[in-house]
Symmetry: C2
Subunit: 231 residues, 2 copies
Amino acid sequence: MSFGNNKKGPKPEIPRQAVYRLSVYLRCLNRLNANGIQTVSSRALAGAAGVKPTQLRKDLTYFGQFGTRGLGYDVSQLTQMISNVLGTEKLQPVVMIGVGNLGLALLSYRGFEQEGFEIVAAFDIDPKRQRNKQIKQLILPMTQLASYVKAHSVKMAILCLPAEAAQETGNFLIDQGITGILNFAPIVLQVPETVMVNNVNLAIELENLSYFIQEDSPEPSTRKSDASVSR
Amino acid sequence: MSFGNNKKGPKPEIPRQAVYRLSVYLRCLNRLNANGIQTVSSRALAGAAGVKPTQLRKDLTYFGQFGTRGLGYDVSQLTQMISNVLGTEKLQPVVMIGVGNLGLALLSYRGFEQEGFEIVAAFDIDPKRQRNKQIKQLILPMTQLASYVKAHSVKMAILCLPAEAAQETGNFLIDQGITGILNFAPIVLQVPETVMVNNVNLAIELENLSYFIQEDSPEPSTRKSDASVSR
């Protein structure tokens, strides 16, 4: 299997956590590249990513990448391979659904574009409501979602809605061809097999910390193995 | 073991994912309570939380809560028990470290307080820099962090810094007595055993979706078992 070109062949079934780790490796490689480093050993790259070298090598073999024994990995080649696998080699359009406090906050966050994602438009049931902040994206009514998503080939949405509106709107998004949802609503969305949902709940992350930092709390039992992201 | 009062006894060692699920159960219970529902079966609560009933029952037995066979769980009692276990029964102070785009965005997000957390102050190396948004919290210089954290008994921090500044600042926070860090910086923080870090990287969440929604991508192998939050 080759990933040195832009054609995408069928991929093996790999665990979700391995895909998260690829994102971490990519960021480590970007820092190496910024520092002018051209090759990296699996030990050094694994150390920067907070995983064991055996984990790194296993993750990369899912994609047919083995490195050259004794020479380590070529930084730019491995960067290109991972970007290609993740589908982030070109800027991907994303729509924001729900422009309340959190949606508005995220619309003004510039970090997504640096990483290959552009929030191209925002949708809200009340697009004309006065908001306390200037943003560059248009806020459109939900009635324009279907045509917009189709015209701009949008596959990904960020859902920033209250719990009670999230499922219904999620169903609507899926009907319009959205297949990836980053869900900030505090509910478990019911979606078909063909749709992927990643959940982010910042209050739950704080609550989880709150449990573990209580003075009589034991060490979290899974902490050591939890060197990846987003938990 | 009893959790019906405010005294906290030593807790058993429980998996991190079970603590995340407690947060989900708590939100489901809050919705039941808002709808005037006083008791709930394990099947119904598990369904709302997107887990199997056996999983729910197992998670609750970590805390010595078994319900009454045939009667289900008392909604308010279970709510109080879980809040107590999570340590969120009173508003917890949190400091924001780094007031760039993302930090500023999160400072204006009102969702934390509803869930028991108050961002009491923000710290930045350049507190006087012009920012495009009014926020209610004071932005203080990092030199005031130590005295502030001590005076207000703050144990939790949200770290919104670039990768290159995060580790050094993280070390400093830990020296000041911070034991829980919600880390938005795209690096793996190295921390002592006594400190808990939860990582959130929104770009990585999008990147992960991006992989799975590619047309030649297989079904994610772990999806079905991944009904909890924050991945």
